[in-house]
């Protein structure tokens, strides 16, 4: 090969690099391991982190995933394909994405879904940028954020939007829910509400949607896609429905995996489609008139529109979308409905049992879905620590760091995976630890 190139050694191939000096410190990097050695090392570390029952949600949920989902998603043809720019060689991925768009748009009852953005947090940032571009007649760039929108999402969105002169205005929550009367500004350009909200509570989405519409503000719905199998979809909220719906797809067949990779989804009314970020697949025909699929509306994207693109996103979270599509197909309408309703029932059971100990009480009284805030008689930080250290149980999220007035509160969740035995055991430990303290 060197001969064909016309050089005598490999170093000559690097002759254009000026002052070619070896990388300093490169020797600090370890010598190579075999696969066996590497797996052994990482297995030891993974083992260290194994825990038992999870009663923690707050944006990442411990659901059952049918075995077939990842067996299929990790077929080499899905796993090791590139972005489907060459449509004729990527019909598998493209058709799958079209089916995904159909499922997501329908879950949200909106016209169109993209495929995909990075995660729920950055998805909220993208949705805000999209809404601001779409609501061009608006007088300002102020976004009213409901008080119980996931605080991790809000922080992330703020990183993404603040340098474009966009201001996020937080509405204080009233008893854990969105209260328009608390909104510090009159004329928001965009309103953001989450359903179920970060505290697990159900918002009065019809009223909030109408309130936003009266102010000519666009409405962004932040949702958990699994709950849409039983909750009213954003497209049907109030008189005109939400304009944009975003969320994290993790509950749809994606392992918690420390928070990533997961994927963000984004749906909207058709009139906003040209402001959408991310890739979109369309159905069309080929030269023979047969059905086929291709990426479309690409003139929105960075590779064509460059500085004026709707987003800089390029590589997205395709494989997770693949898993979610397979998950939704296997679960179907009943699987999704029953999973969602079972989560609700299990959480209700958990809350009732905890309240029965006399050491915990619901902090808010609006109806909740599958997460709930409980005020506890004791130090919740010490409780969660002991639960992990002594029992391997994740006992929920202490809320003090997020809201000072909730520093004796835990946010808890029981998915369809938690059995009554697990819950009873957890409640017993809960009672015991708080009694001893």
């Amino acid at each position: 090969m060197l001969q064909s190139i016309g050089v005598t050694n490999i170093d000559e191939l690097f002759e254009e690099i000026p002052d070619h000096v070896p990388v300093a410190n490169f020797r600090a990097i370890e010598s190579s391991l075999t696969e066996m050695e590497m797996v052994f090392r990482l297995a030891e570390r993974a083992k260290q982190d194994e825990l038992g029952s999870c009663f923690l949600g707050a944006g990442s949920y411990d659901h059952h995933i049918p075995a077939a989902v990842w067996d299929l998603a990790t077929r080499g043809e899905f796993l090791t394909a590139y972005t489907p720019y060459q449509a004729e060689a990527s019909q598998g991925t493209l058709q799958l994405l079209y089916e995904f768009q159909t499922m997501m748009a329908s879950l949200a009852d909106l016209d169109v879904a993209n495929a995909s953005v990075y995660d729920g947090g950055s998805g909220l940032g993208e949705a805000i940028l999209m809404a601001v571009r779409s609501n061009r007649s608006a007088r300002n760039r102020k976004i009213a954020i409901g008080g119980a929108v996931n605080p991790f999402y809000v922080k992330t969105a703020n990183t993404l939007v603040r340098n474009q002169g966009i201001e996020l205005v937080q509405i204080p929550h009233e008893n854990g829910v969105f209260d328009p009367n608390q909104c510090p500004i009159d004329d928001p350009n965009v309103v953001v509400v989450q359903q179920p909200n970060f505290f697990g509570l159900l918002e009065n989405v019809d009223a909030i949607s109408n309130w936003a519409a009266e102010r000519n503000a666009l409405l962004i719905a932040v949702v958990n896609p699994l709950t849409l199998a039983v909750l009213k979809p954003p497209g049907e909220w109030g008189g005109s429905g939400a304009d944009i719906c975003i969320g994290d797809g993790q509950p749809l067949g994606v392992p918690m995996a420390s928070g990533g990779p997961s994927f963000g989804f984004l749906c909207s009314k058709m009139k906003h489609v040209r402001q959408m970020p991310g890739r979109i697949v369309g159905r069309t025909v080929d030269a023979n008139g047969d059905v086929g699929y291709t990426l479309t509306l690409q003139a929105r994207e960075q590779h064509i529109r460059r500085a004026k693109a709707t987003s800089n996103i390029c590589t997205n979270q395709g494989l997770l979308v693949t898993a979610a599509t397979i998950y939704m197909s296997i679960m179907g309408v009943s699987g999704l409905r029953n999973t969602a309703s079972r989560c609700h029932e299990n959480t209700k059971y958990l809350v009732a049992q905890l309240e029965a100990t006399g050491r915990a009480q619901r902090a808010f009284h609006s109806p909740y879905f599958h997460e709930c805030v409980l005020r506890c008689a004791g130090d919740v930080g010490a409780l969660t620590k002991s639960m992990i250290a002594d029992h391997g149980i994740l006992a929920g999220l202490p809320l003090g760091e997020i809201d000072e007035s909730l520093d004796d509160c835990l946010l808890l969740c029981a998915t369809e995976k938690r059995t009554h035995e697990e819950i009873d055991h957890f409640v017993e430990l809960f009672n015991h630890i708080l009694k001893e303290a």
Binding site: Q298, A299, I304, R305, K308
Partner: protein, 133 residues
Amino acid sequence: MSETPQELRYTDTHEWARVEPDGTVCVGISDFAQDALGDVVFIELPETGTEVAAGAEVAVIESVKAASDIYSPVSGEIVRVNDQLTDAPDLVNSEPYDGGWIFVVQPLSDDLSADLLTADQYQEFCETDSNAH
């Protein structure tokens, strides 16, 4: 070779401008430009009533693989837009100088000769422009 009607004026960003009997200026993109863009799939039209300065971006025209801004050749107010293009963007390809017009400006002054190119100048411009590629 693309068509470049003599009676129109042109810009170096490939718009054409035609002074209408009522003094307004009708704007579209040249045959050369539509050919370079390929099949037009969407046009983002300006809103009527918008004040524009000469050289300001007022519309966007998209093909499958490209998007380009359309600039107003004159200063004034947008008084009409071609709504037909919403459903039939291909008019820009098939009739760039007729059915494919994009918007009409009521100009602030009625002298637009100064900065715009004649058909011959524009043709020459296109030739050098395409050789550069």
